[in-house]
Amino acid sequence: MEIKRRDFLKLLAISGAASVGGAWSARAILDVPDEVFQRVLNGPRLETWKNSICSMCPGGCGISVRLIDSIPVRITGNPQYPLNAGATCPLAEAGIELLFHPKRIQQPLRRLGERGSDKWEPISWEEALATISDRLNQLRLDGHTEKLFLVSRARNEMITDLSQQFMASFGSSNFSLLNQADILSPPIYLTQASDQPVAYDISNTDFLLNFGFDLLDEGPNPVRYNQLYVQLRNRKNPQPGRIVHASPYMSRTAVNSSEWLAIKPGSSGALALGMANVIIRDGSYDADFTENNSFGFSEWKDSSGETHLGFKELVTSMYSPERVSTITGLPANSIVAIAREFAAAKSAIAFPEKFQNAGANDLYNSFAVHCLNALTGNLNHEGGVLYPKALFAHQTGGPNRPSNHKHKLLEGIYDNGLLNVKDSEIDTLIFHQVNPLFNSSSPDQLKEKLAKIPLIISCTTVLDETAAFADLVLPEPSYLEKWEINHSIPTVGFQHFGVQQPIIDPLYDTRQFGDILLELSKNIQDPDSDKLSWKSYNEYIRDAAEGVYNSGQGTIISKNSNQTWLEFLKDRGWQALEYSTFAEFWNVLLAEGGWWDPISSKVRTDQLFNTKSGKFDFYSLSLMEAMNSYVFSPDNPIKNMEELLAKWSIHSFGDQVYLPHFEAPRFDSESFEYPYHFMSYRLITNNPDIAVPLGLAQELSGLNSREFWNPWLEINPETAKAEDIYEDDLISLVSSKGTITARVRILPTVMPGTVMMPSGRFGGALSANPAEILSTEMDLLAGSSSQIYTRVKIVKNPPKEKV
């Protein structure tokens, strides 16, 4: 019988693609566990659905997964989940690829040979955990519990709570969170000294002034912000809101705004202060707020009778629209116009720039922007900045930093990264779902540091760059195979949480980090330490859910629950849905996917402040106290405030240091040698957390640029002309630190004199990581490099070997 192409199709239910190497190569299918493959071929094709939460980015969208014969085939949004209302982003769709990825770690591994040699020996969990427990017990015996370091990722998940509790019960305060950039980092503690999470009420606002946070591609929840932006601009009743994006790059977020204002990098704070200048001079600020609820707005005298500068004096004397125009590059009358529009709006939001790990500039920029909200009376009311109450412990503590962390105020601008901890102070380092060797701009320095640490453990899903340097690798399941409680209260502004549950049994011999911590806690031999009593992480989150159940607040999400109806019921003293036992509540919770309480009680404005003044600090006493106490702290060798300020690159002095002001950005090199300003940005499909290139995400990343699997460099037509560069040219960018090569895209959305490049993981022949050339100066956390202060020069026609 002559075998024709289509005959192959009869042999396998999954078509002949496997044999002819067409649509699906045999390799791809072989990477799926056999048992799964059999079900795909021969099963009855029964469809089921399961709800969970996506973890591809910190957003935490609710998902509904379609399963055929218990194998996931498609991830869609959970229509009931109030965060994303049934929508997902393209990255969510790639979750199944991650689940079945061949590079997943399948059992615990112990390093053989040198660190980084990629030789591993599979070991049992008992052996792996025993090794760690022995080490931990030794540390306790020697009284050196502080030498245990845990570095995890900043996500809105309960594992942060448990990690915190574990470290506390063990006796170490060295727990830090990386990748803070996605989590809103408002200067709440600078101005309010409170640990409340903050939310921005975009749906109800009239004017959103975004100072450069690309909310549609990164941040607290890109999906939600895509929806909010469209809803706000298309709103019928009341009239549509206006969105202005002030940034150096016309990102997709800027495209989807009503207007883009091109401002120089690092000048967002100056713009906010220029606006404040106009508003104060016009007298259109909220005098009631500044009078009764703020401190430091005007000149004030301290207890010794010394006069100190106030916000008003500083702003009106130093931030005229003309001066700000020089700093930002915006015409002075644009600044005046924007300021007046902001003040005149019934409700308005000034949204601070993303935390770029850019030192003093970052700190004071977001300080200034937040003061703008306070100045115009937009705190704690509809359409402005909201303060939802925290539901779980990990939601407090500043921008998701553990609350017992010392000097958290200054973490952005002073030495607290791993790179600056003395070698003798670290014995055991645990990395949980973080990959600083990829994201950091100083991987070599970090590797040198790691080389000196006796025991390194990496708990992650795929063997990434950082895990390659570990001594022990503990495999965590993918998010589709584990338990968690997630939320994004800063995005929605009310209390809610979702339950992440396994939609398929773990494929490999993996364990959740929570279960690992609980196991380790059990093995700590010391009657004084408080052991964590939960038997499993599932029990831990059940407990948390039970706490919510017992409070009697809120309700489980369902098809019929919407905010108006719930308010109606609450007014009449009824609970939307009642459950007679917690067991019943838990079952329904798993079936529906989440819980919410959109009608939480509001906090009175005067209760929002934990400052010494008891009010909103335009003049930050908290910052003053933190800096002064740092001068005298034993960790600090520089006992002189002037020198410290110089070290932190704070060029101002005196009162100005504790007021919002403009700190010039510090670049890594000189412009005569490196004429162009290089910045990287994030695409929604390419989150740098992802440790392997996912095919779907790689092809989707190139939708707008038509460059797939590789990054590209965006250059303004003027700059291109000056350098004689054409579309699709291959060029190299050289910084004081390194060189990368990529293809050119000439676009009018880029400022002249700047070069933009998407960050993340790329898998093609020209794949490059912008971190390779990014400035190392600001990378104090050794986790996330400064995205915006690097200078480069262009080299055309790079030698072939570089490609």
């Binding site: 078509s15 009855p44 094709r45």
Partner: protein, 166 residues
């Protein structure tokens, strides 16, 4: 001449061995259990849908396995094949049926449409299953597109390509 005869004899010997081997091979069971439709449908009075439960409401009819067999085979019966089933049930192992009816990936066939909406009897496509003492080794008829279209034409059902190819 002599050589040709020798050659022919060898050939016949080889064929004989092959046929003997082939026939003994044919006597080995194709399926893991010699399921007897005649007994279950005739003597016991079951209907197709009693075991092939998905045929009315799903695309695939499904081959029943231990979850359905155990509804009756709770104990051992006095029968070699039934004992095999009981063993699979006791060890909670799926019976490894060899699938015989396979719709290719490029065609869409929905049992629900044909059984529930079209009200077609199972034997029309699957043959006189009620008379089968041994389980399927091959389909009753070669179910190629022409065969499907033949019935569609006669019953004046759509022959639009996109209805079955997607």
């Amino acid at each position: 001449m002599h050589d040709i005869r020798k050659y022919l004899v060898t050939l016949v010997k080889i064929m004989a061995i092959f046929m003997l081997w082939g026939s003994s091979w044919a006597q080995e069971s194709f399926q893991p259990v010699q399921f007897n439709h005649d007994y279950h449908l005739g003597d016991l009075g079951l209907t197709c849908l009693d075991c092939h439960k998905n045929a009315k409401h799903q695309e695939r009819a499904s081959i029943p396995n231990i979850d359905i067999c155990s509804e009756c085979h709770e104990d051992e019966f006095d029968n070699v094949e039934a004992d095999k089933v009981f063993e699979y049930i006791s060890f909670e192992t799926a019976i490894p049926w060899k699938r015989v009816h396979r719709v290719p990936d490029h065609a869409y066939f929905s049992h629900r449409r044909h059984v529930q909406l079209g009200e077609i009897d199972c034997i029309v496509c699957h043959g006189d299953v009620e008379q089968m003492a041994a389980p399927f080794e091959r389909p009753f008829v070669n179910m190629d597109m022409n065969w499907c279209l033949d019935c569609h034409e006669k019953s004046q059902i759509s022959d639009e390509c996109s209805d079955c190819h997607r």
